[in-house]
């Protein structure tokens, strides 16, 4: 037998030996993959459905009671904002806002439950505010002490004194205000960018004046005054309340006198004394002697 014949016999045997075929599952899987049998979808359906979903969510959001409640509710910052029109004594008292009362099941519960809840909420709110204010006070006191120390160094120069008075009073006012009134007002904090700029410009000018001879001091001080004015403008921009308060100093003084007179009329001497002492500590540069005299007179007139 030749090799070709042997090969043919063997190949015939091999062909008879095994005719295994792949399972039908594999056939289905592969043919489906080849024909890409995926359900047809309209291409324009996707953007339209997305837009419709967005519109629907927006409409639902507008209609939802939570959204309307959030819009109507005052923000918690309202407790912390300063109201110059009502004087200083009201600043320690947070403004009480009316909260929506939920309908109670029984008439007795309707009387007691909302009141207690409101009180609890207010107390919790007050505590949180107090803790925040105290922490801020500490920081502010430290920063303002540092400021005073620096301000004292340039108080010796006469030329600057008229400007420095403004800044010192401004800083002190700010300090006092931050201690009591503007406790949570971030715009007037010691780390305010306007105050930083003013402080830095003064210190730089004074350092230059100290280094150079006296004849040149005038020019430097003029430059420094220009810097000062610029700085004041900046401060006025960043902290307008301080200077608004300075401009309406007389109006404020009148308000304080009216308040004390009212207290004296109502024979609330102790309240008047306390209010005056508070004003004196808060604004030591102001002249409170007339009010003091009035208070003493009223006490003497007391039966």
């Amino acid at each position: 037998m030749t090799d070709n014949q042997d090969e043919k016999i063997i190949s015939n045997l091999y062909q008879d030996m095994d005719k295994t075929m792949p399972p039908k599952e594999s056939d289905v899987f592969i043919l489906n993959a080849a024909h890409k049998k995926t359900p047809y979808r309209f291409a324009w359906l996707y953007p339209t459905s997305a837009a419709a979903t967005l519109l629907l969510t927006f409409v639902l959001m507008l209609d939802s009671p939570e959204y309307t409640d959030q819009q109507m509710k005052p923000s918690p910052d309202i407790y912390l904002k300063v109201d110059n029109e009502h004087g200083l004594e009201e600043l320690n008292e947070p403004m009480v806002t009316e909260q929506p009362v939920k309908p109670a099941k029984s008439p007795a519960a309707a009387i007691t439950a909302p009141v207690t809840e409101n009180k609890k909420n207010q107390q919790a709110m007050d505590k949180a505010i107090l803790s925040e204010v105290q922490s801020e006070q500490k920081e502010i006191v430290e920063a303002s002490d540092d400021l005073d120390h620096r301000n004292d160094s340039f108080m010796e120069t006469e030329e600057i004194s008229k400007y420095s008075e403004i800044t010192v009073t401004g800083h002190r006012m700010k300090r006092e205000k931050t201690l009591t009134e503007f406790e949570s007002d971030n715009n007037l904090s010691a780390t305010h960018p306007g105050s930083d700029h003013i402080r830095n410009t003064h210190i730089d000018a004074l350092d230059q004046a100290a280094k150079k001879p006296k004849q040149k001091n005038k020019n430097i001080l003029k430059k420094s005054s220009v810097h000062m004015k610029r700085a004041l403008k900046i401060q006025n921009h960043w902290a307008p309340d301080v200077f608004a308060f300075k401009e309406t100093k007389e109006a404020f003084y009148k308000k304080a006198t009216i308040k004390i007179q009212k207290l004296l009329k109502n024979k609330q001497y102790w309240e008047a004394e306390r209010y005056l002492s508070q004003l004196r500590t808060q604004y030591p540069l102001q002249d409170w002697r007339q009010l003091q005299k009035k208070l003493i007179q009223a006490r003497h007139e007391q039966p």
């Binding site: 063997i10 008879d16 295994t20 056939d27």
Partner: protein, 183 residues
């Protein structure tokens, strides 16, 4: 669909999104490729996975096919690469391979009991002979028998020279012949 078209033409048609061309190709090659994989890895589940993976690879790379190579060369090269990857992933060595033995011997055309008995004995000897030959020799033998590929294409699939493929096949035939007792 014209079933007289060559594999290369069918593949080009399928690359041009002619899905019926794929059906013809699949019907032509599904059996030989499956048996090649089955006898090379000796596990029907693995062979099925590799078989599906191979056809999916063909579907995904249909545009990459070029007529520089014969379809069978390209196709069986992919199949062999998949096999080698499986061997590497499973940590097995080709030396550990045991040939696939099918106990169900078909006896379609054999009516006489004697001839059936003789045929079964011969096939059993053939299976034993396939165990004797090396993996490379067996691979050449299976590729030659299943796909009827020319030696130069087998050499391309196996990354060897044509002479090496021929000699491996010759050794395989000789060993099987000796095992079967053909003189």
């Amino acid at each position: 669909m014209d079933f007289q078209l060559t594999d290369e033409q069918l593949m080009l048609n399928y690359a041009a999104n002619d899905e019926q061309a794929f059906d013809v190709l699949y019907q032509r090659h599904k059996g030989p490729v499956y048996r090649y994989l089955l006898k090379s890895c000796n596990q029907s589940t693995i062979a099925q996975d590799l078989f599906q993976e191979l056809w999916i690879k063909l579907i995904n790379n249909k545009e990459k096919y070029c007529t520089e190579y014969a379809f069978t060369t390209w196709f069986y090269t992919m199949a062999r690469n998949l096999l080698i990857d499986w061997y590497r992933k499973s940590g097995k060595q080709i030396k550990d391979h045991q040939p696939y033995i099918n106990d169900e011997i078909p006896d379609n055309n054999l009516k006489e009991p004697e001839s059936v008995f003789e045929k079964r004995a011969m096939l059993h000897q053939l299976q034993q002979a396939l165990e004797v030959i090396t993996f490379e020799q067996r691979e050449v033998f299976i590729l030659r028998q299943e796909s009827n590929m020319p030696f130069n294409d087998i050499a391309k699939v196996m990354s060897c020279t044509t002479e090496a493929a021929k000699s491996r096949y010759r050794y395989a035939i000789e060993k099987i012949k000796n095992a079967l007792g053909v003189q």
